[in-house]
Amino acid sequence: MTFDHISRRQVLTGLAALGTLPLLSSRLSAAESFSGRSLVSSGFGGSTMDIIHKAVFDPFDKATGAKSTQVPMQSAAALARLKSEAGNPQIDMFQFSGGQEDAAKKEGLTQPLTSVAQLNAIPAEMKDPDGHWVTWAVIGEGIVYRKDKIKEPPRSYKDFLKPEYKGHVAFPAITNGYGMDFLVMLARAFGGGEVNIEPGFEAMRKLKGETIFKAASDLPSLFGQGDIWIMPYDTGNAFKVQSSGLPVAFATPEEGSPAVNITAVVAKGAKNADVANAAIDYMLRPEAQIEIARHMRWTASNPNTKLPDDLASEVPNVAQLAKLDRAIINEKRPEWTERWNREIAR
């Protein structure tokens, strides 16, 4: 107990001290040479992992001489791996997209970040108060629509109920995380929210006849077939569909963009903890965050990041994100899913 308290205070003091010397410490970490050292991180697999590697790890390796590799695994599997190798981790750094960082910290599998100068710039709600994890990117959700069918960019979650879109709406099932967020945002748009979900269900019942899909892999087909004009999804997937040549755009709703946080932690006992810390610091730098925004359309978690105009219009700003109460949502998940299965999917 006492030990926890002290270590926490030490960390905070340490962070404060770092804050006074941001320039100096950033220069120091840049000069740090990790030649001959390696860094193993978990990654998200597929093209996402490749893009992150090119945007962040390659330049980091170049600057420091380290050799970084990402091992593909889903967030839940990554947490399981971290747990099974507790005390002797083979992977130094973990990336999560499903909120696993909290559980990892609670089970004592992570260690506080050290000498991550950029940590100071990150808003308080995007990092652990004890410095165990930090959000290094955010996937903003919102409205994805066909530019050729819908001239005026949609503005609100209420637009899904517009009569002229009837028969042209698609939305993800509640078991897809975005489907759950869609329900909550509909509730918010119509005067409810996490604690009063009723307006959400009421609005969604009006969308009962529309197309319900389960996975992001259906997106290109849905938009490609021409009669789906509008759906709630994220910037990253909107960009992928756009890159495949379809006239699709992303709009940030006025209710705010629900978001998925991409976090990074350093495994407790990691052999290359110093390299991992330096990599996380690198990931939080505006120049790296711009690259992620350019190639993934993910929102920068560092508010000092100034996106070029062409990007800024397509990626929600960190201030435009809606903060959902994940604790309530997780608690209500079984109940809402049961209800959704009966009232919406039936």
Partner: protein, 293 residues
């Protein structure tokens, strides 16, 4: 058996005594079966029968008392029956022709029939998805032929799942039936025809009746695979064509409600077992009454 005997004699009876041999032969299979099937089934059963560490029927009450889950079970069984019927109707003629074919092409055609089995069900389901979307080939063709007057969406429907799954499971039906037809002497048909039966009548009275055991085996195989299929209903059916297998996945992975997932699995198992036994018993009884007559 003679081979084992020869071997034992050659070795000068230094091996185990003949009585032990069957036990030894079955032992590896038995151990694997106990460890990988009986044990997990038992733990599945116990998981479903406990609530907060106490023996309880609360999960079964939840299933039985909710018409949503009865609907789910009904939809799953309907899927199994439809897929079995389709594969039977399509598979019997193909298997029959392949078995009776004299040309060298027969072997090649049989290999072609089984070819889809080499492709994963996930890949084949993705193929169907491309065809089933509203502006897919199926919808466009039916519209061009004037059979439907508006774009037809088979994606995310039970009908779509039935069609895709029938294609996925058809080779298994054909293979099972092929072996049975092959073992029926064509002379029996000729005998029936020489006694005045028309060819179709001879086919029905002799061949199909003799092939009954194969039809039962093929149907049970296809039925049990259809109701437990996960990839095809998950990909083609989506949220609106939920079946037991996808519901079990949802309870296990999304809701982390393992006791209820175990309950769903147990209920499905009991229904399949009961249906298989009834089906087998009914055909058995018919066979017996016919042989008496």
């Amino acid at each position: 058996m003679t081979a084992t005997g020869d071997l034992a004699r050659q070795k000068g009876r230094s091996g185990p005594s003949p009585a032990v041999v069957p036990v030894l032969i079955f032992a590896p299979c038995l151990i694997v079966y106990l460890v990988l099937f009986v044990w997990p089934q038992l733990s599945l059963l116990t998981t479903s029968a406990f609530d907060k560490g106490q023996l309880s029927g609360v999960h079964y009450v939840r299933f039985l008392g909710d018409e949503y889950y009865w609907e789910l079970l009904g939809r799953t069984l309907l899927l199994g029956v439809c897929v079995t019927l389709i594969t039977l109707v399509l598979g019997v003629p193909v298997a029959y022709v392949l078995a009776r074919m004299q040309s060298r092409m027969a072997a090649l055609l049989l290999i072609l029939t089984t070819f889809p089995l080499l492709v994963s069900a996930v890949v084949r389901s993705f193929g169907w998805m491309v065809l089933f979307f509203r502006d897919g080939i199926v919808s466009n063709t039916l519209q061009a032929l004037g059979l439907v007057d508006h774009p037809l969406q088979l994606m995310y429907t039970l009908t779509g799942v039935i069609i895709a799954l029938a294609q996925v499971l058809l080779p298994l039906m054909v293979l099972t039936l092929h072996g049975v037809f092959k073992s029926i002497d064509p002379d029996l048909e000729f005998a029936a025809m020489s006694l005045g039966a028309s060819p179709p009548l001879a086919l029905c009275l002799v061949t199909l009746r003799l092939a009954r055991s194969g039809i039962v085996a093929g149907s049970l195989l296809v039925f049990s695979l259809a109701i437990s299929a996960f990839a095809t209903p998950g990909l083609v059916g989506g949220a609106r064509a939920n079946v037991m297998a996808t519901a079990i996945y949802e309870q296990t992975i999304e809701m982390l409600d393992w006791p209820f997932a175990s309950t769903l699995a147990t209920v499905l198992l009991v229904f399949v077992l009961a249906l298989s036994l009834l089906y087998g018993a009914a055909l058995d009884r018919r066979a017996k009454s016919e042989s008496v007559a």
